[in-house]
């Protein structure tokens, strides 16, 4: 299925095509464009793909995790540095946190440092944001904290990596009421079938507002934090859609020139069991009073909901402020699992329009029997890269709008 998108290439990444939500482009010193991808689960850690010719992507390095009870899931590249998130499956396991690599020679990533966040109540880091080469903003457990509910372990953390060999934790924030010792009462949890946790997910910080973190907090809604004092982030505003919706707020993408925030949910259950999972447009002109004004038009629900696998919103192209990345304030792209990758014109925030999509055929190694597009990255040539959570690996697309 397609509209205004054309497949240029697919690469199953040497048979390890189950990909996470880490996609970042390096403009290598020798002129190559290298796309770094995090895997969704063991045994692989990350894969680098030379996408200089988008019609002929080539794997140039693929690495293994140290053991199977962990995943990398998320990574970011800033210049010749790459940060890779490590999340473990059980509290107390290691490595839990992130690892920094020197990727100046892409074929030979060299470990520079690890940031240890392991502990008796920690699964480590699920997601990180690293665009300035100096600071890692992440959703990661803090060993000093003990969550009242084990699902609430990952908080917003700021780590200074200006000296990459010695990462230093400099600040953190968590939803009051979620940790032992908090004065606030515990938050009201969603019904058990939707209770995914009150913890951080995406932690975006942009040069336009280096004093703001746009934070998605899964069942806790989304927040704008004042991080002008990195040691003591302060809550500026909070918006939630759940209840009555089914939680799992994933990403907050600010469109600074428009005064808008684009918020995605994540679908986490198969066959539409947690539908609706949507992408919301918020009016953020007053950052202390976020107002929902529309949602991106969903693909035909009855055609996809029970088709198999997950169906609903997930990752957005986040306009990363790094060389090589495409940035737009009018077009938003997102992945919707079995409904593929989709692009929307949000020039009228009250009436967003779908303008392009691509739904690949089900890959051979799909456990669900369906494509499960998981993440998307668009480069400054307008080439759309998207990855499958199952076995499909990397899809390279040309968008014509």
């Amino acid at each position: 299925m397609f509209l205004n998108m054309k497949l240029l290439a697919q690469h199953t990444l040497n048979g390890f095509g189950g990909m996470g939500e880490g996609m970042s482009m390096q403009l290598a010193r020798d002129g190559r464009r290298v796309l770094w991808l995090a895997h969704e689960s063991a045994p692989k850690n990350f894969t680098a793909v030379d996408v200089s010719d988008p019609r002929a992507p080539k794997v140039i390095v693929q690495t293994d995790l140290p053991h199977a009870q962990m995943r990398s899931n998320s990574l970011e590249v800033a210049g010749d540095l790459m940060a890779v998130a490590y999340q473990v499956t059980k509290f107390g396991l290691k490595p839990a946190g992130f690892e920094l690599f020197d990727i100046s020679t892409p074929e030979k990533p060299r470990s520079i440092a690890t940031f240890d966040a392991s502990g008796p109540h920690s699964r480590g880091c699920h997601q990180l944001w690293f665009v300035d080469g100096k600071t890692v903003h992440m959703a990661c457990a803090e060993p000093e904290l003990k969550p009242r509910n084990p699902k609430d372990d990952q908080v917003y953390r700021i780590v200074d990596v200006a000296n990459p060999s010695k990462p230093v934790a400099v600040g953190r924030w968590h939803l009051p009421g979620t940790m032992d010792g908090d004065e606030a009462p515990p938050p009201r949890r969603l019904p058990a079938k939707f209770d995914a946790g009150f913890r951080a997910h995406n932690t975006n910080v942009y040069p336009e507002r280096p004093d703001r973190c746009y934070l998605a907090y899964i069942d806790g809604g989304v927040m704008v934090l004042d991080i002008s004092d990195r040691a003591r982030p302060k809550l500026l505003s909070h918006w939630t859609n759940s209840p009555p919706y089914n939680g799992f707020n994933h990403t907050v993408l600010p469109l600074f020139g428009r005064g808008l925030l684009v918020v995605s949910d994540e679908c986490v259950q198969d066959n539409g069991a947690d539908w609706p999972k949507l992408v919301w447009i918020l009016d953020g002109r007053d950052e202390t009073n976020l107002v929902s004004v529309s949602t991106l038009p969903a693909p035909p629900v009855d055609a996809f909901k029970t088709k198999g696998g997950r169906f609903g919103a997930h990752n957005l192209h986040e306009n990363p402020p790094v060389p090589g990345a495409w940035r737009s304030e009018d077009i938003v792209l997102g992945t919707f699992f079995n409904a593929g990758v989709r692009a929307y014109d949000v020039s009228d925030p009250y009436a967003p329009r779908e303008i392009a999509y691509y739904v690949p055929p089900s890959p051979e190694k799909s456990k669900t029997g369906q494509i499960q597009l998981n993440d998307v990255f668009v480069d400054d040539r307008g080439i759309v890269f998207t990855v499958d959570r199952g076995g499909g690996g990397l899809y390279v697309l040309e968008m014509n709008v």
Binding site: M1, F2, L3, P300, D330, I331, A343, D345
Partner: protein
Amino acid sequence: MTPDGRTPVVVVTGFLGSGKTTLLNRLVAAVPHSLVVVNEFGEVPVDHLLVEGSTERTVALPNGCLCCHLRGDLEETLIGAAMRRRRGDIAGFDRVIVETSGLADPGPIAQTLYADPALARDFKLGPIVTVVDAADPGSRKLSSEIARAQIVAADLVVLSKVDRAADTSSAEAEVRELNAGVNCLRAQFGDVDPETLLQFTPGKHEGPISSPVHNSAIRSFALRFDQPTRRELLQRFLSTLVDLRGADLLRVKGFVPVEDGLVAVQGVRHVFDRLRPVASGEPALVFITNGVEKREVQALWVAMKGLS
């Protein structure tokens, strides 16, 4: 610039026997991922290419194109195709090619695409391609009104059967008399570059716009816009023209600079598309009219501009 994700609808028209089915077959063979809308499947040799499991009114062709039988309204056919594409019931398509019957005026197709909001959400008018038989100009005299309407509506004229025509000049003169600035391609056996044809931007024109002196009431001329004008004034000017002489505005097309960029203007008789921003284009409006003179249109524009 607002992105435009709508699918272009290319209209292939031409008088009976002009060679439009030959041209269509060539396009379908050369360009994948087209939705072809025909009046009868029999006109396009696809019956032997039916793919099992295709939906009732659509057949898939081996190169990724789809062929759709126009039984009901074009509007219903296109909206249904867009719905089935979104649901994954049929494969995607990059463009629609509509072949009109030989006795059809393509104007109403353009009007439908301009005026129907549900249709205009997913589709936009692409070039109207009129196939003109260069070898047998006399055939068009059988129904000269329709043949004229087809030429007047054209963004692009394909002069067909040029290999069989002893002299193509009379056919060319006939075209220029009715649609002076239209782009002309010459073809034998439908042999034109498909990309040139399908990528053609409606509103573009070549050569002088003013029609030569002739005996018919058809006039073609251009108004040029050297300075940006107010969008609202342009809209009022067009509305006034439509109120006064809409029935005689056989085709109006082109680009006009406004406060915040350039807009495309497209209209057929009383029905105009809404003004849409475009990135580039020659700042002029081409008029093909039935008896409306350039000086009259220009006087109206100058007067409205002066009073605003």
